[in-house]
Symmetry: C2
Subunit: 289 residues, 2 copies
Amino acid sequence: MKTYLDCHRCFLRQALSAARRAGASPEEQRLVLLQTMERLQSLAADATPPEMAEVIHRLVRTRMNDPDPYRQTKTDATEQALALLPQLRERVQAAANPLDLAVRVAIAGNIIDQGVAETFELEATVDRVLAQPFAIDGLSALRRALRRTNSILYLADNAGETVFDRVLIENSPHPVSYVVKAEPVINDATRDDALGAGLAEVAEIIDNGSAAPGTVLARCSAPFRERFEGASLIVATGQANYETLSGLTAPIFFLLQAKCSVIADELGVSQGAIVLKAPEEPTRTRATA
Amino acid sequence: MKTYLDCHRCFLRQALSAARRAGASPEEQRLVLLQTMERLQSLAADATPPEMAEVIHRLVRTRMNDPDPYRQTKTDATEQALALLPQLRERVQAAANPLDLAVRVAIAGNIIDQGVAETFELEATVDRVLAQPFAIDGLSALRRALRRTNSILYLADNAGETVFDRVLIENSPHPVSYVVKAEPVINDATRDDALGAGLAEVAEIIDNGSAAPGTVLARCSAPFRERFEGASLIVATGQANYETLSGLTAPIFFLLQAKCSVIADELGVSQGAIVLKAPEEPTRTRATA
């Protein structure tokens, strides 16, 4: 997905927020903002929003000499999510349709996103998302895909959200490889964040070699790209994964909340909608052809 | 009030919104955004937000050759507000304290502001503001000031809001001069907008000679500045008037809703608060000294 003009003001918010988290003085904040606008002016027309976000957050980390301005935020979010884990599991176990509910849990966790907003209401979001109809409902396609595969490549999004992913992974019929970022960027989950959320108990944790939000394949490591290309079922959570992978022909199921108007418009849903977007079933078409 | 770093993203939103209203193509929108960022990079450290807004909106009007991109929006807002006029008057007449209620009506109208947000809920806002406690309550000071003056200089804000001002002016014990912008900028009221709202029936309409939002005195005409300096009671509505005049020693009563976090923080109130801020009563202090 290309960067829309409406994304620019969001980049300015992110830049300021990251600078402040890294303890920037007002003058340093101003310089970060000016530099961000400079970079925006030379942004490639086909760059995705996460590619720009990578540039901005690297700029802040370097200038402020802070390798992870969101560290505390991520730890707090993981703790907050872990406190909900028992009731999330109970709700899935009690559900008439556990897969449906576990998918919803993973989508609910997607509210934890410092890239889109500064604050969120976690428990209220869980209640809302568990009851809300899907705006795009790929659940039947996901069931079919699960019958045709024997492993899942799961692209993580943010720290804290990891705990919600864990609930879905616990309900997976196949082994899961859980993909995190190689270096911190915004509140995206790294290996440490995934470990803190207990993902090692339910999945193999690997990193994608990159410090961009989402999955910018050109910035990922060769070993990860190989895993990606060989995967028969990919679950990609969050807006940034959609923004970076939506153009590809690949067996990707996107799980997300459409938290900003740009993504909502791009997907043709309303803001706040919940989405499980299936691939266009190329395997099946090929088999029939 | 200086321009905060948090204002920058709001300028980008305004620039895009104005360009789109003027029918800009995606490429023209991009150029407007780039030019806006260029201007932001050379913004004077002590410039107020309305001074920057003047630059941006002039840029859009000139580039798009559209003297008033918000014309339709302003006409619609005035019509919408006029439809409420009878019930607003009734509510004031039925009130135990008509001045308090008329002031609240004027503040409620301040939700009509395309500078701060793209949409608003007019009727819900009226109900809220008429019942909401003042975060800063200068009503007693306003009563005292009204006893000491025999005329009022009333600085208007946006088209549509004009109708709400009219309700307050109808309850004024003194003649009112109603000050509008000399040229269109955002949805700020011009003479035509004030005439369309029926202000000529209750006040003398004058313009301030400027096309900046708020009241940037240095950009106003000499005749207006003379009126301003000679005024014994000034009512200034809306955020932009506060942003441009808050540093002055003058008999100004600010009426506004703190619609954005920057203004709310500056005033020490929460976002959404309603404010009637009195001057520091210099006349009285002088009389005692």
